[in-house]
């Protein structure tokens, strides 16, 4: 092999090719067949969602109802595997043609801050859709710079799962929203059998320990948009979470979790009776309907104040949607009680529509095998804090994941870890 280099002329040609690519990358919204025809609202829409088989079934049922009611709307559902969702949507948009309606969640403002999804306030008010009336406190959850970019679709607070048998055996009353941190800790201690059983599954996931941060009066991002994780409130809350593992021994260590099996987290440890209390989302319920243990759910305990993370997703309209009115009309119907009932009927998730959350269809779903206190979701919804869905959400999560690795192994205290993370966040999070 002789080490001949590419000639200068070769590079020039390549430069031309790059120009062509760039032009096509930014210019074309070209092929779009069969979209908007004569009728103002008649449209064929592409809707992307993530998930698995049950998600497909549920969304399709809702779309079928929509098309039955508005035959002029044609909606094509594209189910994308969760892990590939962001990438697929990113590629679609970069290719010049995003979906018309897309499911979004915590990273919604990646798209809104880059003008890839449309502000919906005007469209919604024109269509007579009152977000606060329909969704309560989370109506404007997916906002950026005071504009709404997505309509809530699914939303459920994190809830407490507790092992009834273990609680009764120790004579402990079921957890309530009025439990303090100390109440929780003393219950966990009683429920712990060293090396065999633990009082609590732990709070190593952001949704968990952030709840305690907000309960403690702290904030991850302060009101001016700056990271504020090295404050006493945040440090205290994180340290409490860590102490549950290393000081009190009421939460399994990572090593103990790894020994329970591959990918075992709180949900699995709770299902096999190894932990007495677990804090997780709605999905825990469907997993437990066939479980051998006796369980129920309760709202999350409180700190100085009441606060809890909510899980959910919304529906947004992309910049390239040819007929935003039709897309909003579709979303309006999909989040109406009639369509949202399907979300609970299939056991997929908690519908965001509060009317449905209070209905019997939600409180006593047909698939439920035992009485479960489904009121908990309604009760918790008042406590949901407004999580900081910043445009750099993914980077922020990575900063926490990296920066807390040693903390969750018990090799670092909360103050040291959070001080370092604060510094890193200051370069990631631009107030705006």
């Amino acid at each position: 092999m002789d080490g001949t280099q590419l000639s200068r002329r070769g590079f020039l040609g390549m430069g031309l090719a790059a120009g062509v690519i760039t032009l096509t990358a930014c210019g074309s919204d070209s092929d779009d067949k069969g979209s908007s025809s004569g009728n103002a609202t008649a449209a064929s829409l592409v809707m992307t969602v993530w998930g698995g088989e049950n998600d497909k079934t549920t969304y399709q049922k809702r779309i079928d109802l929509l098309v039955k009611k508005f035959p002029e709307l044609k909606v094509t559902l594209q189910l994308i595997p969760s892990d590939g969702y962001a990438q697929k949507v990113q590629t679609m948009i970069a290719g010049g043609k995003g979906p018309d309606i897309m499911q979004v969640a915590e990273s919604v403002n990646v798209y809104s801050s880059k003008n890839q999804i449309q502000p919906l306030d005007e469209l919604a008010s024109k269509a007579g859709l009152d977000l606060e009336k329909r969704f309560g406190s989370i109506g404007k959850l997916y906002s950026y710079q005071d504009k709404v970019y997505a309509i809530p679709d699914r939303s459920g607070a994190m809830i407490v799962f507790y092992n009834k048998a273990l609680f009764e055996a120790k004579g402990i009353k079921p957890p309530t929203a009025d439990w303090t941190w100390d109440d929780a800790l003393s219950a966990f201690k009683e429920l712990t059998v060293p090396g065999k059983q633990w009082g609590y599954a732990g709070s190593g996931w952001w949704a968990q320990w952030w709840s305690f941060v907000y309960q403690n009066g702290g904030k991850i991002i302060d009101d001016s948009g700056r990271p504020a994780v090295a404050t006493d409130e945040v440090i205290e809350a994180l340290q409490w979470s860590g102490d549950l593992i290393f000081k009190h021994g009421v939460v399994p260590t990572q090593k103990q979790y790894a020994d329970m099996g591959a990918d075992v987290g709180g949900d699995q440890a709770f299902a096999n009776g190894k932990v007495a209390v677990n804090t997780t989302g709605f999905w825990g319920i469907s997993g437990l309907t066939k479980s051998a243990i006796d369980w129920d759910i309760a709202p999350l305990w409180r700190g100085k104040e009441q606060a809890v993370t909510a899980f959910g997703s919304g529906l947004a309209i992309s910049r390239t949607a040819k007929n935003p009115e039709a897309a909003l009309k579709a979303i309006d119907f999909l989040t109406s009680p009639e369509a949202q009932q399907q979300i609970i009927a299939t056991g997929q998730d908690v519908p965001a529509n509060i009317e449905v959350q209070k209905s019997d269809a939600f409180l006593k779903p047909a698939w439920m095998t035992k009485p479960v206190n489904m009121n908990v979701f309604g009760e918790s919804s008042d406590f949901v804090y407004r999580a900081p869905f910043i445009p750099t959400w993914n980077e922020m999560q990575k900063a926490f994941e990296d920066g807390l690795a040693d903390f969750w192994l018990g090799k670092q205290d909360a103050r040291t870890a959070l001080t370092a993370i604060q510094k890193r966040l200051e370069s990631i999070v631009k107030p705006g």
Binding site: M1, D2, G3, T4, L6, I21, T24, A25, S28, D31, V46, W50, G51, G52, E53, N54, D55, K56, T57, Q60, Q78, L79, I80, P81, S82, D83, G84, Q87, K88, Q90, T91, A94, G95, G96, K97, W205, M260, G261, A262, D263, V264, G265, D267, Q268, A271, N272, G273, T280, G281, F282, W283, G287, L288, K290, S291, A292, F311, Q348, D349
Partner: protein
């Protein structure tokens, strides 16, 4: 010109390497004799490699309760064979996925096998100005991570109107790829050049040499390319994820991704069904490799004139 000479004259047989050491009635040479130690080593190695796969089967046969509580064991304790039928009973068109996998992989294999031998042979044997530079470019294309050219490539295929068709997954294979070009080049370079020279003298043109002499001798490596292309295409879900929109066009590998996929981030997938999907995805490849070995390792490639098949 040399072509006036009879092109049909076969090259001399005795110049072909004897390629079947210790086969059939021939005496087994010492170096190929299997000792008890050989067997012991192979059994231990196979066992170690297969323990994880026993795990896969064990999880595939587990009940949903076991999955939720994550209390799996290495060796199966329960035998829920119905998991295998459950995968086909979902709202996902598994049979269709399987058919699509077959279509896409077959196209890709045909493309690579047809094109790679020709290009690789050229790089190994033919002399031309600029060849070395070109070969550096061939290698260089492998050094740039595919992830980074993905979006520009998507835009390219979109401009061609190929999005949501099989074309982006099949057509590029008809233009070979760096891996296979390099591979064929290495294999050809192991063959003595007297073979081509003799054929040259006999008046075979370059294409004749390739078709009548090289191709038969390269058949094992082309089979290997077929197997590599097949398994790579069969298991690939990233390409289909990006290029296909309609469920009815998606391959099985993407189907397994759907089984793995949950609606909430921390929700655990139904591991038993994930493993069933993985097994269903793997079995055809195992079969292909098992049966393909005949052509890979056991074929008699010593007859040069066998090219006229």
């Amino acid at each position: 010109m040399a072509t006036i000479l009879s092109a049909a004259a076969p090259p001399q047989r005795d110049q072909q390497p004897e390629s079947e050491p210790g086969r059939s009635r021939e005496r087994v040479l010492g170096v190929f004799r299997a000792t008890p130690f050989t067997y012991a080593t192979l059994i231990v190695v196979s066992a170690v490699l297969c323990v994880p796969l026993v795990f896969v089967v064990s999880i595939a046969l587990a009940s949903d309760q076991t999955v939720n509580a994550n209390t799996f064991t290495i060796f199966p304790r329960e035998f829920h064979w119905e998991n295998f039928t459950r995968v086909f009973g979902t709202d996902l068109p598994m049979q269709r996925f399987l058919l699509n996998s077959v279509i896409i992989s077959t196209g890709a294999v045909i493309g690579q096998v047809l094109s790679s031998g020709l290009v690789g042979y050229a790089f190994a044997r033919l002399r031309a100005p600029g060849k070395n530079t070109l070969f550096i470019v061939v290698l260089a294309t492998m050094m740039i991570p595919a992830q980074i050219t993905m979006i520009p490539q998507f835009i390219l295929f979109k401009e061609l109107g190929w999005v949501n068709t099989y074309l982006p997954l099949i057509v590029p294979n008809f233009f070979s790829n760096a891996f296979n070009v390099f591979l064929v080049r290495q294999f050809v370079s192991r063959l003595p050049s007297e073979i081509d020279e003799a054929a040259m003298v006999d008046g075979l043109g370059f294409f004749g040499i390739y078709r009548r002499i090289m191709l038969p001798m390269l058949s094992p490596v082309l089979i290997a390319i077929g197997i590599f292309t097949l398994t790579a295409t069969w298991g690939d879900f990233m390409g289909p994820l990006i290029y296909l929109n309609d469920e009815t066009k998606m391959p099985l590998a993407l189907g397994v991704q759907y089984i793995t996929s949950t609606s909430a981030a921390l929700q655990a997938p139904p591991w038993n069904l994930v493993m069933v999907g993985s097994i269903l995805l793997t079995l055809p490849m195992i079969l292909v490799y098992y049966l393909g070995q005949r052509y890979l390792y056991e074929m008699d490639i010593s007859g040069g004139s066998a090219g006229v098949k």
